[in-house]
């Protein structure tokens, strides 16, 4: 009996290590490559050489991701609340419209969106174009995870709070928001990571606006310079930032909301 348990545990660990290696090997290789200069020296000089040009791009991408997360939260939470708590005419078409972006190829949608905003508002030639396209593009991520969270939230908690004298806003702040943590957490993390690393929309916008986000800058450098050490350094920085933000977020918010969904 014990032998069986031990054997399955060993297999589980081997599997986890194997999958981890698969995930981490590309990162380790690019990181290792980033430590070597063109003249064969080992060190951090690649990081210093590209810093002046690349860090402003990273800062821009970070800002865009954070703005996207905040705007998507502001839009998705009330929308998800209304879609789960109230019955009204046209509910399903509205939901389909909100998540419709997922049903078309990314590049086609990005192009259509950029053209629309350019033709209607003449705005895609600025940072506003990035914000609008990112926010719209990643809304389904936040919306669907919020809808799941609201569906799991028993209405009786809100009713109990109402009977105890809590107004609608207070119920939302003290009861609803803390209890929909799981949905918000996964939605925030996915929206942040995916928008920080977003390439298609950013690439299409880069031409008319001349604004390069960090992932597009990496692509641009690979196209022009090949896989040199400083390009590997740029790729490593993007990966390190993504992982660091997730780590810090989970440290602050806690991992309890991800139990059962992620190996923690």
């Amino acid at each position: 009996m014990n032998r069986n348990i031990d054997f399955s545990t060993i297999i589980s660990y081997i599997y986890i290590v194997f999958v981890s290696i698969l995930i981490f090997i590309p990162f380790m290789i690019s990181f290792w490559r980033s430590l070597w200069t063109p003249d064969g020296q080992l060190g951090l000089s690649n990081y210093f050489s590209m810093a002046g040009v690349f860090w402003p791009r990273v800062w821009l991408s970070l800002q865009l991701s954070l703005i996207t997360v905040v705007l998507d939260l502001i839009i998705a939470i009330p929308a998800a609340y209304a879609l789960t708590r109230y019955e009204f005419r046209g509910k399903r078409p509205i939901l389909l419209t909100l998540i419709g972006v997922w049903y078309v190829p990314g590049i086609a949608y990005a192009l259509s969106l950029i053209l629309s905003f350019y033709l209607i508002y003449k705005q895609c030639l600025s940072i506003l174009g990035f914000i609008v396209t990112y926010t719209t593009g990643f809304l389904p991520m936040m919306l669907l995870s919020s809808i799941v969270a609201f569906r799991r939230l028993e209405i009786s908690y809100e009713e109990a709070a109402a009977c105890l004298g809590a107004t609608g806003l207070k119920r939302f702040i003290y009861i609803v928001l803390p209890l929909i943590g799981p949905g918000i957490t996964s939605g925030i993390l996915l929206t942040f990571v995916l928008s920080f690393n977003e390439f298609i929309t950013a690439f299409l916008l880069a031409g008319p606006t001349g604004i390069l986000t960090a992932p597009v800058k990496v692509f641009d450098d690979i196209s022009h310079a090949g896989m040199l050490g400083f390009v590997a350094a740029e790729a490593s920085i993007l990966q390190i930032i993504s992982l660091t933000v997730i780590f810090v977020y989970l440290k602050i918010v806690g991992t309890r909301y991800l139990k059962g969904t992620v190996f923690f």
Binding site: E154, A160, A162, G165, K170, L179
Partner: protein, 358 residues
Amino acid sequence: MVSVRAVDISKRFGDFLAVNHVNIEARDRELITLLGPSGCGKTTTLRIISGLVKPDTGEVYFGEKNVTNVPPHKRNIGFVFQKVALFPHMNVYKNVSFGLKMKKFPKNEIDKRVKEVLKIVRMEGFEERMPSQLSGGQVQRIDIARVLAIDPEVLLFDEPLGHLDAKLRDDLKYEIRRIQKETGKTAIYVTHDQAEAFAISDRVYVMNHGQVQQVGTPIELYLNPKSDFVADFIGTSNFLEGTISEIYENRLKIKVNDGLILVSEVMPNVQEYKVNDNVIVSIRPEDIELLGNLTIKENSFEAKVERSTFLGTNTRLLIALGNRILKVDLYGPERFKIIDTAVSTNFHVRRFTIIKKT
């Protein structure tokens, strides 16, 4: 303290008429129960009184104040839910103090009230526990403490013991009654369990198909059900169809379809009946007694015992009367008697209820 009245309230959900012109009154400091089977409209009625559901028609009054359009958070009610609604992210102290915090009580007053109500529900010292660290009964006590903390005018209970085991239900129902009496609150309690309703209520509203079928004290309802539904839902009854064959000396003689002749006691309302009226006779199993070899002329009959089952506190007999099987419950020393199932035995109907057939 305050009385609660629901006047002519109705509520429809799509095609389903959940509450159909219901009138309810809980007098000051009274505990009334809405009793009925699933889907009878009792919970919807309670939720209308709480303000969680808006009625299609009718009005709700707390005392003389019409609260029909007052939202629940302004009604000053205490609602104990069937599904436990303790906030899982707050400890006991925070749960109990939540309502006081919403009503902006000062911190020292909150501390004092929390201590007081935890003492009432006998849960002192549990302030730091999280809901997940409490047993089912403890959670329900904290839920009650939480609603008592805000000193509500009215207590509303929606099957609060529904998910607890039988022993705990038994203990907690008396606790609820004790707390209601001690605090002197007007209370409305919803349950489908007749024993629970009878144990704690001053008066019971029996509901079915969205309507109130009968109102009365537990004893009134048990002894004088006005419909076959109430007679059947409250306890157990044998129903026999019959016709009034004679009226004399303020008594009714009823010819039951199975050949039995039953004579009622003197009835104050005998003028409500006429000869040849069709009626239903409801006989409680404990109101049929074993006569053995003795004979009483009136309301007695002979029947063969089909089955005898000893149940501890009583023995349940199934006896054949014509084509019908009647239930008979024997209590006291009689329950230990060995009943011969091979021969017919004499039985006597001690009391029965006459229900007009509609």
